[in-house]
C-alpha cells in the first residue's frame, strides 16, 4: 500500500522511508518499537536486540535506532559521514526460510526495483567485541553502495545462541540519499517540510567540535569510572537492565574519549575490557534468570 504511494509521489523523504519500512515489517509480523533512549553506537546494543537474542522464545521486532559514532563526526562538512545516523533494526527469531526474499521485497516497498537495480549480498561477517557478539552474514550492496548489514547471530554475550536470530540493519541515511538522488546528506529532506540540514546540521557541528576538540579528558575518565562502578554495583544486586544501561553509558563516554584521541593503546584496551566485563556479566545474569 505505502509502496504504491511511493511509486505515485516519486519523491521519498526520510520519514516516508521509515514509515514504509515500519509498515512493511509490521505486515510481516514484527512489533514496531520506539527507539531506545540511551546513547548507543549501533541498534544491536539496544536491549531489544542484546537480551532478546539470548533467550529461546520467538521474537520479531523492528525499531529505528539513532546511533552515535563520535569518531565519524565531520563538523557537518562531509556529505556522507556523520556523528549520528539512523539505523532501522529488524530482529527475528527464528529467521523465516525466505528472509532474503522478504528483505528484497522491503526494498521494493520503498521504490527500489530489484529487477532494475543490482542488489548483492557480499560476504561480511560481523563482530562486536564489547558485546561478546559475532555473526555470519553479508553487507547488502545496492548498485555498489552498502545499504544494509544482514547477519545471522551466532554468539552474543559470549554465549553460543541455541536458536540464532537474523538481524537486518538498514542504513537509513544512505538509502534516503540514494532514493532522493542527492549528493549530500544535508541536501535531502527529512520530511515534507523539514530538511535534514535544518534538523541536524547544528547538532553535527557542535558534537564534532565537542568530541574531537573540546571534550575534557579528566572529567570523562571520572564519568567513565562512576558509570562503571554504578553498573558493577547494579549487577551485584542482580539488577540486570540498570547494570547494562550503565555499560552503554560507559561505552558512549569511551567513544568520545577515543574520538578525542585521549587514550593510549593500553588504556584503550583496558577500558574496552571493562565495558566487555559489564555486558558479559549482564548476559550471564540474564541467561540464568531465563533458565530458572
Amino acid at each position: 500500500m505505502i509502496g504504491l504511494i511511493v511509486k505515485r509521489i516519486g519523491i521519498v523523504n526520510l520519514d516516508l522511508i521509515i514509515a514504509s519500512l515500519e509498515h512493511f515489517w509490521r505486515e510481516q509480523g514484527c512489533t514496531i518499537l520506539p527507539a531506545y533512549d540511551i546513547e548507543v553506537g549501533a541498534g544491536t546494543m539496544a536491549p531489544f536486540t542484546f537480551f532478546q537474542v539470548l533467550h529461546k522464545r520467538d521474537i520479531a521486532l523492528c525499531y529505528v535506532q539513532p546511533s552515535r559514532r563520535p569518531t565519524d563526526g565531520r563538523y557537518g562538512l562531509n556529505p556522507n559521514r556523520v556523528f549520528k545516523h539512523h539505523q532501522m533494526q529488524v530482529i527475528i527469531k527464528p529467521p523465516p526460510m525466505d528472509i532474503q526474499e522478504i528483505y528484497v521485497k522491503s526494498l521494493e516497498s520503498i521504490g527500489i526495483d530489484p529487477l532494475a537495480h543490482d542488489i548483492r549480498f557480499i560476504e561480511d561477517n560481523w563482530e562486536a567485541p564489547t558485546l561478546g557478539a559475532w555473526g555470519v552474514g553479508w553487507e547488502v550492496w545496492l548498485d555498489g553502495m552498502e545499504i544494509t548489514q544482514f547477519t545471522y547471530f551466532q554468539q552474543a554475550g559470549g554465549f553460543d545462541l541455541p536458536n540464532p536470530s537474523v538481524e537486518i540493519t538498514y542504513g537509513l541515511e544512505r538509502i534516503s540519499l540514494y532514493i532522493q538522488e542527492k549528493d549530500s546528506i544535508y541536501d535531502m529532506n527529512f520530511g515534507e517540510k523539514v530538511g535534514y540540514k535544518e534538523l541536524r546540521f547544528a547538532e553535527e557541528a557542535q558534537q564534532s567540535s565537542y568530541c574531537h576538540d573540546l571534550a575534557d579528558k579528566e572529567r570523562l575518565l571520572a564519568l567513565f569510572q562512576l558509570f562503571f562502578d554504578e553498573g558493577a554495583f547494579c549487577l551485584t544486586q542482580n539488577l540486570i537492565l540498570p547494570g547494562y544501561e550503565y555499560a552503554l553509558k560507559c561505552s558512549h563516554v569511551f567513544n568520545i574519549l577515543d574520538a578525542r584521541g585521549a587514550l593510549s593503546v593500553t588504556e584503550r584496551a583496558r577500558y574496552l575490557g571493562k565495558i566487555r566485563n559489564l555486558t558479559k556479566k549482564s548476559a550471564q545474569l540474564y541467561r540464568m534468570e531465563q533458565n530458572e
Binding site: 559521514r81 537495480h117 543490482d118 549480498f121 555498489g144 553502495m145 593503546v265
Partner: protein, 669 residues
C-alpha cells in the same frame, strides 16, 4: 540407457573468498564418493556459483555395481558337525553376511557376500544428504537447528526426468530453481534440460566462463584477486563503466586505485599510463545500467571525497612531527609499540657493520613507520608505506629516504618484486628479522595450518632479498643481535636457547622449501644440512652442484667423500699436529698437500663456490685407498690417517654432504 543426474543445492550467498578452493575440494570428494559407492558414470563435475552448489553426473549407471566379496568364516570343524550339518556358528555367520551359500577352502568356511546394489535414484536419496552434510566445510554457520556453509533454501534433484526426493537441512523434495535476484524462478523438469534452462535464464555455471566474460570486458592488465572476487560474486557478470569528477584526480593515483580496487572491488581505467576519471564495474545480470552506474558513481564520489578529507587532514602534521605518535601505537601485542620497534631497528642496524655505516638508514628508520598514524593509512591500511613515500616526498625529505618508506614492504607476496632501493632492501631485512625474532620470543610459532602473522611470507621475502641481492649475510648473527635488542626494550618471555632453536628450525624449513623450487631435492638436502645458513651461499652451492652433477669428476668426488665419511664415522680423532707430522707414505703426503691447497670457504667474505679444487683430490684419494691401509695396527699411524681423512671431510662438508646426492638409476652411493 544411462541417464544424467543433477543435484542443485540452492543457498544464500556463499563466501566468495572461499569458493575456488571449495569447488575444487568438493569436486574431488564427489568423484571419490561415486567411486567408493560403485557408481559408474562417463563424467562428473561440481560447479559453484554464489547461490548454488551443482552436482552434475553424465551417463550415470542405473544401479550401483557392487562387486562380489568373499568373506572368511569360522573353521570347518566348528562350522560343520561330523555328519556335515550346519552348526549354529555357521548359521550365525551366514546370516550376518546375508549369504545362503558357502564354500570350503582348506580349513575354513568362506561365504560369497553380495551387497544389494541400489538403484541410482534411491541411492542418492538416502546417501547423498549425509555425505554432503558431513563434508568438512571450512566455514559453517548455524541457523534454526541446522549447520551448513550457508543456509540451504531450495533443492533441484533429477535422475533423467525422474525426480529425486532428497531432503537436506529441512528443505524437502525438489523445488523450482531460482533465477537471478529480481528475476523469475526456473522450472526444471529433467536433468537433461538443466544447462539449457540455466543459460536461458542468464546463469553461467562455469567460473572460467564468468572469468572470461569479465576479462574481455576490461582493457589492459587487471588485478587477479579483484577479478576472481567478481567471478565469485556473480552468476551473470556484465561489465560496464562509470565516471568520477576529474577534480578528484588531484588525489595520488595510488589512493584512487586502492579505493576503486579494494573498496569498490572495481577496476581502474588507464590511458597512456595515466589514470582516467573512470572505472569498470561488474553487475550481476542485465540490469538498468544507467541506474546501476549512478549508484557506483555516488559511491566512488563519496569515498574519494572522504579520502580527500583524510589527505587534507594529514597535511596538518609532517611525518617527522608524527614520530612521537608511534609511542601510542601497538606493534604486536606483548612486543611493544611501533616506537619500540623503530628503536630496536636502530640498535639492530648499529650492531651490523653493513648497516651501521649508513647515515641515511639511521635517518630512515625512525621515520619509516610514521605514516601508520596518518588518517589515510588508518582508513586504508593497504596504503601503508605508499602514503609514507608520497607525504615524505612532498615534505622535502631526501628522495632516497622517501622512496624507501614504501619500498621496505616489498616483496609483499611470492610474486612481488624486491625492494628497488638499497635503503629499502636494508630496512626490509632488518624489519623482517625483528618481527620474526619477536614473535618467536613470545612463544608463537608457525604451524602447518596457522600463520596468522604471515611469518612465512616475511621469511621468504627475507631469504629472497639475500639471495637475489647476493648479500652474504648470516641470519644467525642478525637473529642474535635482534634478540639482544628485545632484551633491552622488552622482556623476552621465553628462554633464549629455546627461542634460538625454534627460530633456527623455522628459517631452516623456509630456506629448504625455497631452494627446492629451483633445485633437486637431494641437492638441497645435501647443502642445507641444518643450523643457520647463509641463503646466498647455499643457493650458489646448489647451483654449482646442479651444473656439475653429470660430470665424472663430480661422481668420483662423491664416492670418495662417502668412503671417507664411512671410514671416519665423522669422528674427530683430535690430533692437532698434522702440520708437523711426518707422513710415511707418498700417497698420504700427496693428499695432505692437495688438501692444504684447497681454499677454506669463507661464508661471509669472498665467494668461492668452485668444486674444481675438490676434484684435485680425486686421483690422490683413489690411490690412497688402493695402497694405504687406514686401519693400521699401529694406533698412532692409524689415528693420523683418520685425522687426515677427517680434515678433508670437514673441508668438503663446508660445501655439502655429498653422500646424499642421488645419481641416475636412483642409487645413493
Amino acid at each position: 540407457m544411462n541417464k544424467n543426474l543433477l543435484i542443485e543445492i540452492g543457498t544464500e550467498e556463499l563466501p566468495s573468498s572461499y569458493m575456488i578452493d571449495l569447488e575444487k575440494s568438493l569436486g574431488q570428494a564427489f568423484s571419490a564418493f561415486l567411486a567408493e559407492n560403485f557408481i559408474t558414470c562417463r563424467k562428473n563435475q561440481v560447479y559453484l556459483t554464489p547461490r548454488r552448489l551443482v552436482f552434475w553426473v553424465e551417463e550415470i549407471a542405473p544401479k550401483q555395481e557392487i562387486p562380489e566379496k568373499t568373506v572368511k568364516g569360522p573353521p570347518v570343524k566348528i562350522a560343520l558337525t561330523s555328519e556335515g550339518k550346519q552348526t549354529e556358528a555357521l548359521k550365525g555367520f551366514l546370516s550376518k553376511c546375508q549369504a545362503t551359500e558357502y564354500s570350503v577352502e582348506g580349513p575354513y568356511i568362506y561365504a560369497k557376500v553380495i551387497e544389494t546394489s541400489r538403484e541410482t535414484n534411491r541411492f542418492f536419496q538416502t546417501d547423498f544428504p549425509p555425505w554432503l552434510i558431513n563434508f568438512p566445510f571450512e566455514k559453517k554457520m548455524r541457523w534454526e537447528t541446522w549447520q551448513f556453509v550457508r543456509p540451504i533454501r531450495w533443492i533441484v534433484a533429477y535422475y533423467g526426468d525422474e525426480r529425486i526426493d532428497l531432503s537436506l537441512c529441512g528443505i524437502q523434495r525438489s523445488k523450482p530453481s531460482r533465477g537471478l535476484r529480481g528475476f523469475k524462478s526456473i522450472l526444471i523438469e529433467s536433468a537433461d534440460d538443466y544447462f539449457q534452462k540455466m543459460k536461458e535464464n542468464q546463469i553461467i555455471l562455469s567460473k572460467d566462463e564468468r572469468k572470461d566474460i569479465i576479462e574481455s570486458g576490461i582493457p589492459g592488465k587487471i588485478r587477479q584477486d579483484i577479478l576472481w572476487e567478481n567471478v565469485n560474486r556473480t552468476e551473470c557478470p556484465v561489465v560496464s563503466e562509470a565516471n568520477f569528477s576529474e577534480n578528484l584526480l588531484a588525489l595520488p593515483s595510488e589512493v584512487i586505485c586502492t579505493v576503486i580496487s579494494n573498496q569498490l572491488k572495481c577496476f581502474p581505467a588507464w590511458g597512456n599510463d595515466k589514470l582516467l576519471p573512470k572505472f569498470f564495474f561488474v553487475m550481476n545480470g542485465h540490469r538498468d545500467v544507467n541506474l546501476v552506474r549512478k549508484g557506483y558513481e555516488k559511491v566512488i564520489t563519496a569515498r574519494l571525497n572522504d579520502a580527500s578529507y583524510f589527505f587534507e587532514r594529514d597535511a596538518s602534521k609532517t611525518l617527522i612531527e608524527r614520530i612521537p605518535d608511534l609511542t601510542k601505537m601497538t606493534f604486536i601485542e606483548k612486543l611493544g609499540t611501533l616506537a619500540d620497534k623503530t628503536d630496536r631497528l636502530t640498535s639492530l642496524a648499529n650492531s651490523i657493520p653493513l648497516f651501521s655505516k649508513d647515515p641515511d638508514l639511521l635517518t630512515l628508520i625512525p621515520l619509516s613507520k610514521a605514516d601508520l598514524s596518518t588518517a589515510m593509512v588508518q582508513e586504508l591500511t593497504e596504503l601503508q608505506g605508499t602514503m609514507g613515500t608520497i607525504y615524505a616526498r612532498s615534505q622535502g625529505i631526501k628522495r632516497e629516504i622517501a622512496d624507501a618508506i614504501s619500498d621496505q614492504y616489498h616483496p609483499r607476496s611470492e610474486n612481488d618484486t624486491l625492494p628497488v632501493t638499497v635503503l629499502g632492501k636494508h630496512l626490509s631485512l632488518l624489519d623482517r628479522i625483528d618481527t620474526i625474532t619477536g614473535v618467536h620470543a613470545i612463544g608463537m610459532t608457525v604451524s602447518s595450518s596457522a600463520d596468522p602473522l604471515g611469518l612465512r611470507r616475511l621469511a621468504n621475502g627475507l631469504i629472497r632479498i639475500l639471495m637475489e641481492t647476493e648479500y652474504s649475510l648470516s641470519i644467525e648473527h642478525m637473529v642474535e643481535q635482534s634478540l639482544q635488542t628485545y632484551d633491552v626494550v622488552n622482556q623476552v618471555i621465553m628462554e633464549k636457547d629455546t627461542v634460538l632453536k625454534n627460530i633456527q628450525e623455522f628459517y631452516h624449513t623456509r630456506l629448504k622449501s625455497l631452494l627446492s623450487l629451483n633445485y633437486r631435492y637431494d641437492i638441497v638436502g645435501a647443502v642445507v644440512l641444518g643450523g643457520f645458513l647463509n641463503p646466498f651461499t647455499a643457493k650458489m652451492r646448489c647451483e654449482r652442484i646442479q651444473e656439475e652433477i653429470n660430470q665424472t669428476d663430480f661422481k668420483t668426488m662423491c664416492e670418495s667423500y662417502t668412503r671417507i665419511k664411512n671410514i671416519t664415522k665423522e669422528k674427530n680423532p683430535g690430533l692437532e699436529d698434522l702440520d708437523s707430522y711426518e707422513f710415511q707414505k707418498e700417497e698420504e703426503k700427496e693428499i695432505w698437500n692437495v688438501c692444504q691447497s684447497i681454499p677454506v670457504i669463507d661464508e661471509f667474505g669472498g665467494h668461492s663456490f668452485d668444486l674444481k679444487p675438490f676434484y684435485r683430490l680425486n686421483t690422490p684419494i683413489t690411490r690412497f685407498f688402493e695402497t694405504v691401509l687406514v686401519m693400521e695396527a699401529d694406533l698412532d699411524i692409524r689415528n693420523h690417517r683418520l685425522q687426515l681423512l677427517y680434515t678433508i671431510l670437514v673441508k668438503m662438508n663446508q660445501f655439502a654432504d655429498f653422500s646424499t646426492i642421488v645419481f641416475d638409476g636412483g642409487d645413493r652411493i
